[in-house]
């Protein structure tokens, strides 16, 4: 498999605090790589290191096969666009001027592609409105447009949907999918909003305390996420007795709710519960989602 980014035991220490602690990850070409971790896990630190904004304390990484210690790393960075934390835009300029400014920084000889980019991110009608008067979503989209100015084939987005309204989230999601599918841009996206990330990502990297605790494809995650039936009953103690008797795996959530794994014969189960004077109130088929997978994973890692 061809990788756009490979990191090898990356460490970043701020005095006694280890923001990254031997992080190793691989971003395959063409992927939407979801970078999942709680606040302070080291997501933004890693992105800053890749962008060259900070230097690693130890370890290294390769961007398009070029090591970060190589002098030509700046050339491979030209193939990359990034929005780190907040969008990097001049607030006293219009959307068009921001893109023209970025074209100048990149040495793009003409501004022909500017209108297409504005159209791509849905900002073609902003006219003379300055970026400081844009909504958060518009600024985020402009930030992505700026990052796309040099036609990069690797895009890094740090928490791109933070603070956006539902409409803004949908717009950014559609934009990312469009860029990945139509322009084959590899995307590394970090986010707290796991539900949203699960709609996009083709690969995942779970980070905790500065290291990757699990790296997997979306298919692997799907296989790992177990299906279950969430049952609401009047007495989960009775339910536990019956399920134990039937040899079925389960997880009691509270006094009335439990997740039942596997597919039992529900007629038999209901009859057995009736004998225990326990009524079944609701039954709902559920997939274990990214969120619960992440919670289990991080919880497990914390107790290792």
């Amino acid at each position: 498999m061809e990788y756009v980014l490979k990191t090898n035991s990356l460490c970043k220490h701020y005095r006694h605090f280890k923001a990254l602690n031997g992080l190793t990850m691989n971003v395959p070409k063409g992927a939407i790589y979801g970078f999942v971790g709680k606040n302070g896990a080291g997501k933004t630190t890693l992105i800053r290191l890749i962008c060259g904004l900070q230097h690693p304390t130890s370890g290294d990484f390769e961007l398009y096969g070029i090591k970060n210690t190589d002098k030509t790393i700046s050339k491979s960075r030209r193939r990359m666009g990034a929005v780190v934390e907040t969008p990097s835009i001049y607030l006293d300029m219009t959307a068009e001027d921001n893109l023209k400014q970025q074209c100048c920084f990149l040495g793009v000889p003409s501004f022909d592609g500017v209108q297409d980019l504005l159209k791509l991110v849905g900002l073609e009608n902003t006219g003379k409105k300055k970026a400081k008067n844009f909504s958060l979503g518009m600024r985020q989209r402009l930030g992505i447009a700026v990052a796309l100015c040099g036609n990069p084939d690797f895009l890094i987005l740090d928490e791109p949907i933070n603070g956006l309204d539902p409409q803004g989230i949908i717009e950014i999601r559609e934009l990312i999918l469009k860029l990945n599918r139509e322009q084959q841009i590899t995307v590394l996206i970090s986010s707290h909003i796991l539900d949203e990330l699960s709609r996009l990502a083709t690969h995942y990297g779970f980070i905790d305390s500065g290291r990757i605790i699990k790296e997997m494809s979306a298919e692997e995650l799907e296989a790992a996420c177990r299906k279950c039936v969430r049952m609401t009953v009047t007495d989960t103690k009775a339910l536990a007795r019956v399920l134990n008797g039937m040899g079925i795996e389960y997880n009691i959530l509270d006094s009335t709710t439990a997740d039942v794994y596997a597919n039992p014969n529900f007629t038999k189960l209901t009859l057995a519960l009736a004998e225990e004077n326990c009524e079944v109130i609701t039954m709902e088929e559920r997939d274990e989602n990214l969120e619960s997978f992440y919670v289990n994973l991080v919880g497990g890692a914390e107790h290792e």
């Binding site: 900070q54 969008p87 835009i89 970025q102 920084f105 040099g150």
Partner: protein, 287 residues
């Protein structure tokens, strides 16, 4: 770096604060010329050349450039656009030099705007002719160009190392004021005479007679000597605001005239501040 320069020049020329600074300095030059013209109208027989106001504007350029540089470089930090430049492959050294070149150019343009009006007013006959020869004026102007560049390089160093626009701007304004205060303190201390001038005064004694008392000259305790004087002299020669003071004020003093060396001192200051700035900026964590 040419790409950075092109883009940053576009941003400079779109910057309102830059044009306001130009207008302020041009206004200052117009006001200074107008007062000279007013003097010549009020006292037509008194020769009042504009030599004194030629470089007076350079004294203000520190404060003006503190604001311009604080906003220009600070905006790159506050908007996060400094990250963009690095992410797309520009080296930190190139980014530093680009900002230095842009800011020095801006400072020189503002300086020249002031000078053009002062000299123009004299050439057009609004103010009197300069007492200095054309050659001396040219030498002084060339020297002042180096001095302004040195002052700007100090400000660029500070501004590139402070990530907050507000903190950076405030620091630069305080620094510009501190340099003015330091220039006055150092320069006037060097002007202290070694001995006080002898003087006499008359008193009336107990018999009603007037008696003249002669006071001999005594050693001035504020007079600097030895290593301390050399240190003061060093700073008086190398600090940009001190250079401007020496070029502006025409004292009949015992101080050695080092004006001819000022361009060299300025170049040394530019080299030192830029070298330190590039070194520190390359190690700086950009957020």
């Amino acid at each position: 770096m040419s790409k950075l320069l092109r883009a940053d020049f576009v941003r400079l020329f779109k910057s309102k604060i830059f044009w306001l600074a130009m207008i302020f300095m041009a206004g200052l030059a117009s006001f200074a010329s107008w007062t000279k013209w007013q003097d010549s109208q009020d006292f037509p027989d008194h020769y009042n050349p504009p030599d004194g106001i030629l470089l007076a504007g350079a004294g203000f350029i520190g404060i003006v450039m503190a604001v311009v540089i604080g906003v220009f470089i600070g905006t790159d930090y506050s908007n996060g656009t400094i990250r963009n430049k690095h992410v797309i492959g520009h080296s930190r050294t190139a980014m530093y030099f680009s900002n230095l070149i842009i800011c020095v150019t801006a400072a020189e343009m503002i300086h020249i705007a002031y000078l053009t009006i002062i000299i123009g007013a004299s050439v057009l006959g609004i103010t009197r002719e300069f007492e200095m020869s054309a050659g001396n004026i040219a030498a002084l102007l060339l020297t002042s160009v180096f001095t302004v560049a040195a002052l700007t390089s100090v400000f660029v160093l500070v501004s590139m190392l402070i990530s907050s626009r507000t903190a950076g701007s405030v620091t630069l304004i305080i620094l510009s004021l501190a340099l003015i205060i330091a220039a006055n303190t150092i320069h006037y201390r060097l002007l202290e005479k070694e001995y006080t001038k002898p003087y006499s005064y008359t008193i009336t004694n107990e018999y009603g007679e007037e008696v003249e008392i002669e006071q001999e000259s005594v050693k001035n305790p504020k007079y600097l000597m030895g290593t301390k004087r050399k240190i003061y002299q060093f700073f008086d020669d190398i600090l940009p605001n001190n250079q401007i003071m020496q070029m502006t004020e025409d004292y009949e003093d015992d101080l050695p005239d080092h004006t001819a060396y000022f361009p060299v001192y300025s170049l040394v200051l530019i080299a030192v501040t830029t070298g330190a700035g590039v070194l520190l900026f390359r190690r700086k964590d950009l957020k």
